[in-house]
């Protein structure tokens, strides 16, 4: 492959990787603190994309659309915690896992009931692609990459630089110990679900901006998101972000070899390889067995 093609693929891969990183971060946060793989993450993203399109149509501004999508999805995530996931405390992870699948279906069906299956899209001002060393970059892609990167950094900053983030990590490391030392679970969980919602929302809007908005868009990103979360080490959000970006790059760069259809198969293969070789993830610590 020529250098220009390679560069183009790398740019596309980086953007795809940032998207997967957002979804993977949402999954990983939930994995780390609430301790189950949240299968509704993808449909949070779908919801955000639809909310964004609707809000943009209503206000006429892309920025307002995106902002309302983030607010609404964060609200949705918090509501799903309060109404559903909160009630599973002390039960095995099977229950919230199944409920998250149910929630995914419920969200998607409510969307399709009212909006149908037609594809929608954001209105994006058309602009010329910038050509740089043979790689064509759309301005919108730069915006996408920038916004995703800023969001990822912001979430990690909350996690690592604020008191509530520190408490969140304490709960992630050792829930019993954290409970014993009197960490107030409620504030932690509400912040957690706000972050999960915000991450998914930015990811969903970005995904919608990049292509089109369809009901299955988020569900289709679930597999790479899970792969990123596992690859990065269960309960290691930074790892999930790095793994997500790497996954996007690998998927894109392998396109000439495996073709477009089997792109997602790459995440599956990497997922399996991780489980076989390093179940604790590339960057994770071993999980104590009790």
């Amino acid at each position: 492959m020529s250098a220009a093609v390679g560069l183009n693929l790398a740019v596309a891969g980086l953007i795809q990787g940032l998207l997967i990183a957002l979804a993977g971060l949402a999954v990983s946060l939930c994995f780390a603190v609430a301790r189950f793989p949240n299968a509704a993450t993808g449909d949070f993203m779908t919801f955000a994309a639809y909310a964004g399109v609707a809000a943009q149509a209503w206000t006429g501004s892309l920025l307002a659309g995106a902002a309302s999508a983030v607010l609404l999805t964060a609200g949705l995530a918090v509501a799903s915690y309060v109404l559903v996931f909160r009630n599973f405390r002390g039960r095995s992870l099977v229950a919230p896992l199944i409920a998250s699948i149910g929630l995914a279906f419920l969200l998607r069906s409510v969307l399709t009931f009212f909006v149908g299956f037609d594809q929608h899209s954001f209105h994006v001002p058309i602009a010329r692609a910038i050509v740089f060393a043979g790689a064509r970059v759309r301005p919108i892609d730069l915006w996408l990459a920038g916004t995703s990167a800023v969001t990822l950094l912001a979430v990690l900053a909350v996690l690592f630089l604020t008191p509530i983030g520190r408490r969140m990590r304490a709960v992630a490391d050792n829930p019993e110990l954290a409970r014993a030392s009197g960490i107030r679970a409620r504030a932690v969980m509400l912040t957690l679900w706000t972050l999960i919602g915000a991450c998914s929302a930015v990811g969903g809007v970005m995904l919608g901006l990049q292509t089109v908005v369809v009901p299955e868009m988020g569900w289709n990103l679930l597999l790479p998101a899970f792969a990123a979360a596992v690859l990065g080490g269960v309960g290691n959000p930074t790892g999930a972000v790095l793994a997500g970006i790497a996954l996007g790059l690998v998927q894109a760069l392998s396109t000439p070899l495996v073709g477009f259809t089997y792109q997602t198969a790459i995440s599956f293969i990497l997922l399996i390889a991780t489980l076989v070789l390093r179940p604790q993830g590339l960057l994770g610590r071993a999980e104590p067995v009790r």
């Binding site: 490391d173 050792n174 104590p288 067995v289 009790r290």
Partner: protein, 252 residues
Amino acid sequence: MSLGVHGVNKSFGGLRVVDDVSFQVQAAELTGLIGPNGAGKSTLFAVISGFQPADAGCVRFDGHEIQRLSAAARARLGIARTFQVPRPFAHLTVRENLLTGARDQPGEHVFNLLCRPGVVRQRERQIVARADAMLEFLGLTRVAGERAGALSGGQQKLLELGRALMTEPRFILLDEPYAGVNPVLIEEIERRIRTLSEQGTGFLIVEHNLPALARLAARLLVMDRGRLIASGTPAQVLADRAVQEAYIGGGP
């Protein structure tokens, strides 16, 4: 036959819970392991029985290093353990809980179910007889058909002991066998343990009921904050200043 730990260390997220512990326990010498709450006794049990990997050090059974073996393999080798908080199979009956502990049931392989049903049935009869005897001994016959999850805490404690005994162990680690068990039964269990011990089964027992343990044990080991701080006969150990201070000083 003996069980030894040598230089075992175990930390949880920077907190050193077992700190360079070494000792050897002879099967012939019933041994107790005591120490205040949080001293690391249960964690040490988990390391010995293979439920927690040690950060450093090794575990020897009968002269062989066993720390690379899985928990199941160690149990098959003859090291049984009970859990401090009983972990019964809650949806199985009490009798089934005991049956699950029995070793060498070919019926646990689907192949044998299909091809050697006669052997399976015959072995099952033997196991059921043993389980019923165990139920009788533990005073659980009356609840044999009930779901184990429905038992009281004390009864679950007994079931835990029974299930471990069903594995025909050569060495048993008991984690607070008397907690929640009524005094009459404690004496009963004591007698049973003594009998087994005389027949050659090794015991290492963690127990907070010191008088009961002192009656039983030939030797006591004392842990405090992850370290082994004393060992000797019960009389020696209980008179030891460091031990008394550890207990009075309280936990971590």
